[in-house]
């Protein structure tokens, strides 16, 4: 069986713009959530906090490629460039038909859409609209733009499934390599900061509204005092590679992907199903040929909404009981939507390589409606070999990835 290893990492998140920065932020228990004064003018928007990407030079992307990218694709491009450089992939490797890409986002470029549509609608005319707007807004803008910029000519799988966009990207990449369609897959996802995303959760009464004065306290996954999620932005990319291919070129190996499951609840468009969540974790375990007790840490999706956290806790408890350490890093940085699966996968790699199981920020008391899982309230230093990353999206889409410390 072909083994799939991770040989490159890149990210842009509210907690830093590289593996090392993210690690340092987690170790220092930093919060990446801040008050957003620009949102005060939006009538009836309750949530006023977000995690944003800082200190990234998007203008460094050559205009030739940047012209058709909204912020979402630009963030993805910076992360992907970082991952490709980290993996030391040559143009020949990237241009081979054996190298592909799997990348997604919830939305295309929201900012572009909000500039473009009102003008077209007001005038009922496309006169004066430039040719790039659509390319920034289209659903597969990230996957298409990345392929142009990095000249990736193999399979291209846009995985646009909201909050599982990037975990499905990684899963699709893993399957592509494992089942022999590709030797290298560049995978991940992204989301850009925009009030549209915040407003969507706000109208569903799912966004945090109580902590504009103390933004770092706003996201409290699994805690009884949680009041909703914090809508953030971010992006990340992983280079997945077939083990022998990676070894032959002496690549650095961050870890191995040994299990993946994806499914749909097929039930309700937004209400998560604990059965669906449980099923996808079981599928991932079956794929990895593991028993539940083999998993030593779980990075939960837990966004700090009432229903999601409860359902996930019960699904997790049904399989893993009360001992396996679980944390949700959305307490630190909020919900990166299309970017969360990949950044949380990097956190799983940090757990494997740095022996840091990050705490759940702001977690004090488990909601009594949650099942009694072992939510980490403090950073824990522990040498672990196998960890799981779970993500769930609107539409009932579920993913579960299992990562293992690389051993020859």
């Amino acid at each position: 069986m072909r083994r799939v290893v991770i040989t490159g990492v890149g990210l842009n998140s509210p907690l830093g713009n590289s593996y090392d920065e993210l690690y340092e932020s987690l170790k220092a228990q930093k919060s990446g959530i801040e008050y957003v004064p620009e949102w005060e003018i939006i009538k009836d928007l309750g949530t006023k906090v977000a995690g944003r990407v800082k200190n990234v030079d998007l203008k460094a992307i050559p205009r030739k490629f940047r012209r058709s990218m909204g912020r979402v694709a630009q963030l993805a491009a910076v992360s992907t460039g970082q991952a490709i450089a980290d993996a030391n992939l040559t143009p020949e490797m990237l241009g081979s038909k054996r190298c592909g890409l799997a990348f997604g986002s919830t939305m295309g470029g929201n900012e572009t859409m909000f500039e473009y549509m009102p003008e077209v609608q007001e005038k009922m005319s496309f006169r004066g609209q430039n040719s790039m707007a659509f390319l920034k807004m289209m659903s597969h803008t990230v996957a298409a733009n990345l392929a142009q910029m990095f000249e990736i000519k193999g399979r291209n799988l846009p995985t646009c499934s909201a909050c599982t966009s990037s975990s499905q990207g990684i899963g699709a990449g893993y399957e592509s390599v494992k089942y022999g369609m590709s030797d290298i897959m560049v995978c991940g996802g992204a989301e850009e900061h925009h009030y549209l995303s915040a407003g969507v959760f706000d109208v569903m009464a799912a966004a945090s509204t109580k902590h504009a004065d103390e933004p770092h306290l706003s996201s409290k996954p699994f805690d009884e005092a949680r009041d909703g999620l914090v809508v953030s932005e971010g992006s990340g990319a992983l280079v997945l590679e077939e083990l022998e291919h990676a070894l032959a070129r002496g690549a650095k190996i961050y870890g191995e992907i040994i299990g993946y499951g994806t499914s749909c609840d097929g039930a309700h468009i937004t209400t998560p199903s604990r059965e669906g969540m449980q099923q996808v974790m079981e599928t991932s375990l079956e794929d990895a040929k593991l028993k539940p007790e083999d998993i030593e840490y779980i990075n939960a999706h837990a966004t700090a909404t009432a229903r999601g956290d409860i359902a996930e806790s019960h699904a997790t408890h049904a399989i893993f009981g009360s001992l396996t350490p679980v944390s949700s890093t959305k307490g630190h940085m909020g919900h990166l939507l299309g970017g969360c699966g990949v950044v949380e996968s990097v956190i799983c790699l940090i757990a494997l390589n740095e022996s840091l199981l990050p705490k759940t920020m702001n977690f004090k008391t488990l909601d009594k409606e949650c099942a009694p899982i072992n939510v980490l309230g403090e950073n824990t230093e522990k040498d672990v070999n196998i960890v799981m990353n779970n993500n769930f999206a609107f539409g009932g889409i579920n993913t579960s990835l299992i990562f293992k410390k690389y051993q020859a």
Binding site: K64, R67, R127, G128, Q129, N130, S131, M132
Partner: protein, 84 residues
């Protein structure tokens, strides 16, 4: 009626501001595609921007043969109605 110099000056500022072209690369003789490394989509967007900024109506379907900045100048000038 705008003069050729005025149109050239506008094209130059649009190329620099919107298309990030270096000032020294811009001249009447510069080829949009080989010298300035623009492509057909850029050419359309250049016209759309000039259309907006100069308040004229450019028929982009008639602009296939534009190569140099001088071609663009002449095309823009020919798009400006004679009575203006």
């Amino acid at each position: 009626m705008a003069t050729k110099e005025e149109v050239y000056s506008k094209i130059k500022s649009v190329l620099m501001d919107e298309f990030e072209v270096e000032e020294e690369a811009i001249s009447m003789e510069a080829n949009l595609f080989t010298d300035l490394e623009l492509d057909s989509l850029d050419a359309i967007d250049l016209m759309v921007t000039l259309d907006k900024e100069l308040g004229i109506e450019i028929k982009t379907e008639e602009m296939q043969d534009l190569r140099t900045i001088e071609d663009v100048c002449n095309f823009v000038l020919s798009s400006i109605p004679a009575d203006e």
